[in-house]
């Protein structure tokens, strides 16, 4: 897992370093700045030009707790991350809870009720949520005074819902389930004791993925709502090609993603073993 994270950091640094605009700075368009000043400001990035040397130096310093300094915000990266991670964590945790509650609730209730109009309503709701741009959600949330966590949930839930609904429906039509249904076994019992365990590994994998989806959703949500979290920081860093900040954020996001997916894999394996 650590190796994957380190490779991710290096690849991210490479992508940023060789993307257009790395050497460019808004100061180049400032008519008040002389050529010498513009060159001096560009020279400040010289340590970042050789990517392997930069990454080596970055990791060496990171071992001592020094994540470098953000060029665009002129603050230590460590304090930037420290100041903002709570906002993002709150958005992600609460947003995911709401998203899963809504998605599972809709999918399972649809299977329970077995009623086409309800199924159609669920499909239309999640379809509509998928079609609305994040910017519109953000504006709606300000208009209706809905917290950012709900916006994250609205962005993430339709993806979870669709997978869950399809998986539930697929198992619901398996011969042994049909047999149980025909013998009059309670639908809720079928769902909880027979359907959910069968799709447990997939749900566990989906849970891991959903963490990544929620973290990704924080970028537009925080940027648009002006929430001082890591997502907003990531967007600012991307626009400014702020290499130390971007590498740190990539490492953080990779570790979170890996942990979430690893956790999902462990649960999935446990369920499979149990079933076997």
């Amino acid at each position: 897992m650590l190796a994957t994270a380190l490779v991710a950091g290096l690849l991210a640094a490479t992508l940023v370093r060789f993307a257009p605009g790395f050497d460019a700075d808004e100061s180049a368009l400032d008519p008040g700045l002389r050529q010498e000043s513009i060159q001096a400001l560009q020279q400040e990035r010289s340590g970042e030009k050789h990517i392997f040397a930069f990454y080596r130096s970055y990791l060496r310093n990171a071992l001592h707790g020094d994540l470098g300094s953000s060029r665009s915000l002129e603050q230590p990266v460590r304090s930037l991350l420290h100041d903002r991670w709570r906002v993002t964590a709150h958005l992600v945790v609460v947003g995911l809870f709401l998203a899963w509650t809504l998605a599972l609730g809709l999918a399972l209730s649809s299977a329970l009720l077995q009623w086409s109009p309800y199924e159609l309503l669920g499909t239309t709701l999640s379809g509509t949520a998928l079609c609305i741009p994040a910017g519109v959600f953000a504006l709606l949330s300000v208009l209706l005074r809905i917290p950012g966590e709900a916006v994250v949930a609205c962005i993430v839930y339709p993806k979870i819902h669709r997978y869950t609904r399809n998986l539930v429906t697929r198992i619901y039509h398996q011969p042994y389930i049909l047999s149980a249904r025909s013998r009059g076994v309670n639908r809720a019992r079928i769902l909880l004791l027979h359907v959910l365990p069968m799709i447990g590994p997939q749900l566990a994998a989906l849970a891991g993925i959903s963490v990544g989806l929620a973290v990704g959703a924080t970028v537009p949500v925080e940027s648009l709502l002006g929430l001082p979290g890591l997502g907003q920081l990531a967007w600012q860093a991307a626009l400014a090609r702020d290499l130390p900040l971007l590498v740190s954020l990539t490492l953080a996001i990779t570790l979170v993603t890996l942990l979430a997916n690893c956790f999902g894999d462990v649960i999935a394996e446990a369920i499979r073993t149990n079933e076997a």
Partner: protein, 268 residues
């Protein structure tokens, strides 16, 4: 539910036909600017009004539908195919293959692909045609959008490889690709269909957002995504509800896709 599916199919065909016939049925060219009537409300001449540059909204919706309805499903198919090849097959093989594939997937999910997209834009000539630009954008989205579904497919395939019917098939001499295609792949369909269906609107919206990098559809060609970006001026929507037309069409198409693609029905 069968009648609903037929109805949904009819809607899809109708939308596709109308958009393909845009050249004949559109009252105006999508780029013609009626500069004396910008931001006009619906009227006989402009049934959905005009946009901020005086262009007929109905014409732009027709042509935008043609662009997005062709390319978004194609990109969704690409991402689904890559997902099943990487996730499905690695899960079926299991062991070190599954672990390797998932490590690659996790790596893929973590990287800031924004910078790859910026680099792609830099490599493209500035004078690339709007159709080429939007096609390349959707292709890239398809090539980058497989990772989440690959994970779920891998988990599903891992569960299936030790299921009783697969073991039975193996015992009766079925192996390798044939076993995968006949017994495993059909059971991956719920995830595949979900991935395909989710990808369509996600790619449409992503294409619009990529305009900030110089990718996506370029003016004056419209796409659903570029039309939906107008909704971000939400403050005027209650006075100009006709601006919601592209969103309604997209929701209709996306819902219809799901109803058509849904294999199992909820029994009534």
């Amino acid at each position: 539910m069968k009648s609903i599916r037929r109805f949904a199919l009819a809607i899809l065909l109708a939308v596709a036909s109308v958009s393909l016939a845009a050249d004949w049925i559109s009252p105006a060219n999508y780029r013609t600017q009626y500069r004396e009537v910008p931001n006009a409300p619906p009227s006989k001449q402009h049934v959905l009004g005009t946009d901020s540059l005086g262009r007929d909204r109905w014409a732009r919706l027709l042509y935008g539908t043609r662009v997005s309805l062709t390319l978004a499903p194609a990109a969704a198919a690409i991402s689904t195919l890559i997902g099943v090849l990487l996730g499905g097959i690695s899960g079926y093989l299991g062991g070190v293959w599954a672990r390797l594939a998932m490590a690659v997937t996790d790596l893929f999910l973590s990287l800031p692909w924004l910078f790859l997209l910026i680099t792609v834009r830099a490599l493209l000539p500035l004078n690339v045609s709007p159709y080429a630009s939007v096609s390349i954008t959707f292709l890239i989205l398809g090539l980058l959008g497989w990772a989440a579904s690959a994970r779920v497919l891998c988990a599903t395939a891992l569960s299936l490889r030790n299921s009783s019917f697969v073991l039975q098939a193996r015992a009766s001499g079925l192996h390798g690709a044939r076993l995968f295609l006949v017994h495993v792949l059909p059971n991956l369909k719920p995830v595949l269909l979900a991935q395909f269906w989710i990808s369509i609107p996600v790619f449409i919206l992503s294409e619009a957002n990529l305009g900030i990098l110089g990718l996506g559809v370029t003016e004056p060609l419209p796409s659903w995504g570029s039309l939906l970006r107008e909704l971000e001026s939400l403050l005027s929507l209650h006075q100009e509800p006709w601006k919601l037309a592209p969103l309604l069409v997209l929701v209709l198409v996306v819902t219809s896709f799901q109803l058509v693609l849904s294999n199992e029905e909820i029994a009534t």
